[in-house]
Symmetry: C2
Subunit: 547 residues, 2 copies
């Protein structure tokens, strides 16, 4: 509107900014349309399409003589962590099948904590031993440890693109759950390596890292749960019987975001915080709002997450062709480092997935095993490295995006190469591998999950109506008692204050199976034909339409 | 997550940034809660609450020794125009009662175009004559003309807070419609005064301004309509019978925003563009998507607009206590200038509202007059000056937020004072005035509108079922023929390509009154009690729940 008049006074970069926005929004739209058209394809998913589109348009931009490349193409870690990541992780928590997640808590924690340590050790060792042969001599031990952490950070966003919560619920909850915990662990380790004098390797340093880790885990979770409960309480208390749709939705969005940035401010793991905030909000807050707000939040959160995801992959693609980091890189050296890191990542992940699965299986019933096929998929689908690795690499090896040191530039370029290769190559064959292993829902070996619909009952009314077999399966599981205790506690102490399923007077009327069936057939009638689930995670988040 | 680790490497300002985000999100939440609690109050609305909260917390921040005041409190014109304004204006177009708007097109254009010229002339003259007496000697004629424009820019956002589309549809469409056109006119004039050598006052300059204006009006509208139609076509063509909720919603959001930033890039009036894009999207695109996407978009757009509005007022409040501009200001001078500008604004607006209303009434039926009471409200509710005025003032009188020239600093401070005073004082007495004039819906004199529900029929299925009287009233109106012609054209040429009401096969089944009634009672049963409309505009946008 007025900007153009203002632009005259502003520097040119501000107008460039609008230009870049137009480009990015157009590319996002292209990604969505292409994603739709290529939905049937086995080798493409939204992530690979976005990265490829980013690479191509970035290359075109440079070819057309764009000299302001850096400002447009450069990956901005702040935009990533402050604006793009929160909606994705929040929506993951908001739409995750909570029962599945908590039932697999033990293996998830093992993969996510012990796994990072194992993987970091393998990658650090591999890099430390081989890199000097490629002429890298100035990296410190802290740099190598940081490298190990950087390549142990799985890409939770990419995982969401490949695994489908409804088709492979066990795998989804294991791999995605690992991703969230992995992130927290990665942060602690990365910070520890930056803060402590790791050359010492004293017991004190280790104890410090351990205590820090436990504190981070507990404090981050508590903050997320706290903010989530506050939102439930606020909406229940203030808006009881006097709903205002916009305010409800606004309070949910703002409090979700508040949990994330408060964790940032308190130097906690904001991913863990916002993930648990999402879980609590879907368990309590979501049930305290009007029907329209429920539908709106489900879809709006999923859409925000979807846009942010696509944006991130586009961004990685655009940054991939940004030239300064490639110019300073010697290609033979880089190729060697690239191979070492890639192989180390593969080996480092195998080194913990298979042993940990074996340990975890000892606590699981015979019908509940993580089979060898599952283990292969878990190993494979956690191999992709993504935006988090890039952001960490920039943080360790550049000063505010500027890489003076040629060795550091080489490391960043190599990181980018691993990210691009792993996402494009590993990512595009993951779907075929999962299908060929017969791991899509109908063929899933081992009755290891209680059925997709079952998991909804913490979040959605439908579940309480599922019939015998899956309930039995659930109760047979080791976590059955814990779950019963939690339900009792929830009903007696939590729900009176914070609402939750059954809070809304309207819903109570409909607690019987009959009325549910009526509603279900209703919604089937009213909602146009839905395409088979696309590989996007957000799709899985769609609740049964509650009219 | 990782930011804290990164923060060590970054400058302190980046961590400040997170800190500021936490503060602003918390304040937004406070505004929403207070807005809810004070909903019954006649003197408070969300705008005044947000401004007061901004002022108080800004003052507290400074009192607590915040030395980084500028970065936190300073009003950033880019954030305002690129991120906050688009959702507000888009939602206004998306939820505006189209029939009412187009029926009042003639007076709206007169107020919005001729009105700005009259008001600018009055304010420029008043300032030019009196300011030298307050010791202001260095302002050029271009500065004075810019001042005239700045204080002729009505605050469309604030208007939305005070008038309710359902209670006072005629007033709402006149004042808000004027606001949108006013903005376009203000931009052209402001730019003309910056670009052309206005001291010449030659016929060529005038012709240039006129041509530029017509071009801007037509091109901006065409761009908005074009992007809106493209979105309808894309969704209808690609997703026909194969809906994916997230993609649909994402395409709507992204294309709406694209229209705005494309207009920015092409130096058009992006407000006009995004407004018409919103109208077209609600007429076509919205009907081409699934039920859940319809509910989601209605509420999500309204919520985004609601948050952006609250943010803007908070922002103005925070900027209000930012000290640098007050320090350079001599209080006696500023008080004189403040009074002159305030009186000139009052007089300048009166000078066109009453004559233009008289002219417009000549074309209107006797039951369709803009009564003198209406005219008073139109005059009064357009008196508030808001964020647009502040942004323009910064643009004219500062170099990237820095005011070296003390006269310029005084002008900016005075602008801020007028904005704060007009929003707080005029804004808080507007609701009482409207109520005491008996202009809320049930008492509205003159059958000048065909009823709230009638206007929905372009956007929502309900209307085709409203009964006799209002249809008669509509057809009796002068624009009846134009409207019939448009409907015929729309049915024959537009809807086959772009969809629109009745496009979805499911809706077609339900075109009978009976099934509609069933659905309506259904939704009444399912949706919890809705509070009486709050003064927020977004509330008015709520569609009848389509299950």
């Amino acid at each position: 509107m007025v900007l153009q008049s203002v632009a005259a006074a502003w520097e040119e970069s501000d107008h460039m900014h609008v230009w870049a926005l137009v480009l990015i929004v157009t590319l996002l739209l292209l990604c969505i349309v292409l994603g739709h058209l290529l939905e049937e394809s086995r080798f493409f998913n939204e992530a690979t399409i976005a990265i490829l589109l980013g690479l191509v348009s970035g290359a075109l931009f440079i070819a057309s003589g764009g000299s302001q490349t850096t400002s447009l193409l450069h990956f901005d870690t702040e935009i990533f962590f402050i604006y793009l990541l929160p909606p994705i992780i929040f929506n993951a928590g908001f739409s995750v099948k909570k029962k599945q997640f908590f039932r697999n808590f033990f293996p998830i924690i093992l993969y996510g904590v012990v796994g990072v340590f194992v993987s970091t050790a393998v990658i650090t060792a591999a890099a430390k031993i081989t890199f000097p042969r490629f002429g890298i001599r100035k990296l410190t031990i802290a740099d190598y440890l940081a490298l190990g952490t950087i390549f142990s950070a799985t890409d939770s966003v990419c995982v969401l693109q490949i695994l489908n919560q409804d088709e492979t619920p066990l795998l989804y909850s294991l791999v995605f759950g690992e991703g969230v915990v992995n992130d927290a662990t990665t942060v602690v380790l990365f910070r520890a390596f930056q803060t402590f004098n790791v050359a010492e390797f004293s017991a004190g340093v280790y104890l410090n890292i351990l205590l820090n880790f436990v504190y981070l885990l507990l404090a981050s979770t508590a903050l997320g749960v706290g903010v989530g409960l506050l939102s439930a309480y606020t909406i229940k208390r203030l808006y009881l019987g006097k709903h205002s749709t916009d305010r409800e939705i606004a309070v949910m969005i703002l409090m979700a975001y508040l949990s994330y940035i408060m964790a940032e401010m308190a130097q906690l793991s904001s991913i863990l915080t916002v993930f648990f905030c999402g879980i609590v909000m879907s368990h309590y807050t979501w049930h305290n709002v009007t029907e329209s707000s429920r539908i709106t939040t489900r879809h709006a959160f999923a859409t925000m997450s979807f846009i942010a995801e696509t944006f991130i992959f586009l961004y990685v693609g655009l940054d991939g062709v940004e030239m300064t980091k490639w110019k300073q890189t010697h290609s033979t050296e880089a190729l060697g480092m690239f191979s070492v890191l890639l192989i180390a990542t593969l080996v480092g992940r195998a080194a913990f997935v298979f042993p940990i699965s074996a340990i975890a299986n000892r606590t699981r019933g015979s019908n509940n095993r993580i089979t060898i096929r599952h283990q292969i998929i878990i190993w494979w689908s956690g191999l992709m490295r993504g935006a988090v690795s890039i952001a960490l690499a920039y943080s360790q090896f550049s000063q505010s995006g500027d890489t003076q040191n040629p060795e550091h530039a080489t490391v960043i370029a190599t990181t980018m190469a691993v990210v691009l290769f792993s996402t494009l190559a590993f990512g595009s064959v993951s779907k075929p591998i999962i299908e060929e292993n017969g791991l899509a829902a109908p063929l899933l070996s081992g009755g290891s999950y209680s059925g997709g619909s079952m998991d909804f009952d913490l979040a959605l009314p439908i579940s309480s109506l599922t019939s015998g077999p899956s309930v039995t399966a659930l109760l047979a599981a080791p976590s059955g008692t814990a779950h019963r205790l939690w339900r009792a506690f929830d009903n007696k102490f939590m729900r009176p204050s914070f609402g939750g399923f059954g809070f809304s007077p309207i819903e109570r009327e409909e607690g019987t199976e009959t009325s549910h069936r009526v509603r279900r057939s209703d919604s089937t009638r009213l909602v146009p034909y839905q395409a088979p689930d696309p590989p996007t995670p957000s799709k899985a988040a769609d609740p049964p339409i509650l009219e």
